[in-house]
Amino acid sequence: MAKPAIGEAGKTGDWRDMRPVYDPSKCIPCVKKKAACFLCWLYCPEGVIKATIPIEINLAYCKGCGICAEECPGKAIIMVNEDGKNG
């Protein structure tokens, strides 16, 4: 029957109207140079954020929900309009 595959719904990054933009200088694990926080990874409904230093967001599949930006305590992630202008 149906087999596991990435991108079953296509490149869900296409769904976005706003994109997460990441600033490592405000990111707690980056600043502390050790595993800490990672709330963005914790709360991402899509599981497209890697809890690495610095973090990595898979923009091919990120739906732009904005939860990571909303929950980041350091405001290291902001959401910008897909056309590049800060919304």
Binding site: M1, A2, A5
Partner: protein, 402 residues
């Protein structure tokens, strides 16, 4: 030497399931099927049958349990009647679409409203579009034998099989039954090999949504759309005809009893008029045919054993040489005519077979059907045919219709 015991149809059914080494039983009691659930519970709780009995809270759940248990690789059995069969209707479609070799006994009982607990075949007739193989038994021997055959058929074509037998008339009537030898049955039924198995070793999502169109998988290979899947179901039903016949012959070879494949014939070689029906009414018709023969009427009987897939070719051959057909049915497709009548007429479409066909609706809600009443109906039909009435509207036998 096989053991012969006198037993009811329900006892025969439970024994058939036991001999078939079913592994999961989920059934809900309903008149007149109830003792099947009780006998199987007895077998399982006493250890005679090593199986899981799930005492489900409804018939819908009964068939659901069978569907998912079959999907993980277990051989399953259930049984029901009437309202219970109606209640599980969506799961009948689901089971056939899932291509699962579930065997179920339908102890034929009429449907409400208003209530009846007595026999007719409306319940199983109403399920004819679901994709199940449907076999109608004429005696208790055929019940036990058909269940065993049912598993072999089901597990080779991956289609569910409904074994139908008349409530009370057979379910509660004792008849002599030769119990098939357990070892012979084990030889006759190889272990169940599922076509798709649900297990962590091969993760997959079974029975998901399909698009209307075909769609490529992750490797770019085009896969079926919904319509292709459904075509495959229809195709399997078509191919099952040969499997049903072959299984019957193999069974006859192993056990010495041949129930006739898709249909059976009684004194039809020289028959000028053929009576037809399904289940015990067809057996009753053989007695009526004998009565008519005594009066010089060359009557014969064609018993339809397998209603789905409909034996179109066999029906054409069986009825080709006769001059009239009288169809006795314990059910009706409301708004039109008896379902069997429609199927038989449709079977002749496109051939040169043109003859009067008379349809009688009989025995609804358990109204008694006597051989002499069938014989009388045939006499009346013959007179009507002589006067030129080739295809009247269905007549309701022994029922006030004014």
């Amino acid at each position: 030497m096989a053991e012969v015991q006198i037993m009811t149809g329900n006892q025969a059914a439970a024994l058939g399931a036991k001999l078939s080494h079913v592994q999961v039983v989920a059934a809900y009691p309903i008149t007149p099927q109830t003792s099947v659930t009780e006998i199987l519970s007895q077998f399982i709780e006493s250890g005679e049958l090593k199986a899981e009995y799930i005492r489900v809270e409804s018939e819908h759940s009964a068939l659901t349990v069978c569907v998912s248990a079959s999907t993980v690789g277990a051989r399953v059995f259930t049984s029901t009647s009437s309202q219970g069969l109606l209640y599980m209707h969506e799961q009948l479609h689901w089971a056939a679409g899932s291509r699962l070799p579930i065997v179920m006994c339908c102890v034929n009982r009429g449907v409400g409203a208003p209530w009846t607990i007595f026999n007719d075949q409306q319940d199983s007739i109403a399920q004819r579009d679901t994709g199940w193989i449907q076999i109608y038994c004429r005696d208790n021997q055929e019940i036990i034998d058909s269940i065993i055959q049912g598993y072999r058929i089901a597990e080779s074509v991956y289609l569910p099989v409904m074994i139908c037998y008349d409530g009370f008339v057979m379910s509660h009537t004792m008849m002599p039954v030769q119990i098939p030898d357990a070892e012979l049955v084990s030889d006759f039924l190889p272990p169940y090999k599922p076509h798709t198995i649900l297990s962590p070793e091969t993760p997959m999502n079974i029975n998901p949504v399909l698009f209307p169109w075909r769609r490529a998988n992750a490797e770019g290979v085009m896969c079926d759309g919904y319509m292709e899947m459904r075509f495959k179901l229809q195709k399997a039903l078509g191919e099952s005809r040969d499997v049903i016949v072959a299984t019957g012959k193999a069974f006859a070879g192993a056990f010495g009893r041949d129930h006739g494949g898709l249909l059976w014939q009684y004194k039809t070689d020289d028959a000028e008029i053929i009576l037809t029906g399904m289940g015990s009414v067809a057996t009753e018709a053989t007695a009526a045919a004998d009565m008519l023969r005594e009066e010089g009427v060359r009557a014969g009987v064609v018993g339809i054993r397998v209603f789905r897939p409909f034996p179109k070719e066999d029906a054409r051959d069986a009825f080709r040489k006769t001059d009239a057909i009288v169809i006795f049915e314990k059910g009706i497709s409301y708004g039109y005519e008896g379902a069997l009548c429609s199927e038989i007429k449709a079977a002749f479409y496109g051939t040169d077979i043109r003859l009067p066909i008379h349809n009688y609706i009989v025995g609804l809600g358990g109204r008694d059907v006597k051989a002499r009443e069938l014989a009388e109906a045939v006499r009346l039909s013959r007179d009507a045919i002589t006067s030129g009435d080739a295809e009247p509207a269905p007549k309701w036998l022994n029922c006030i219709t004014e």
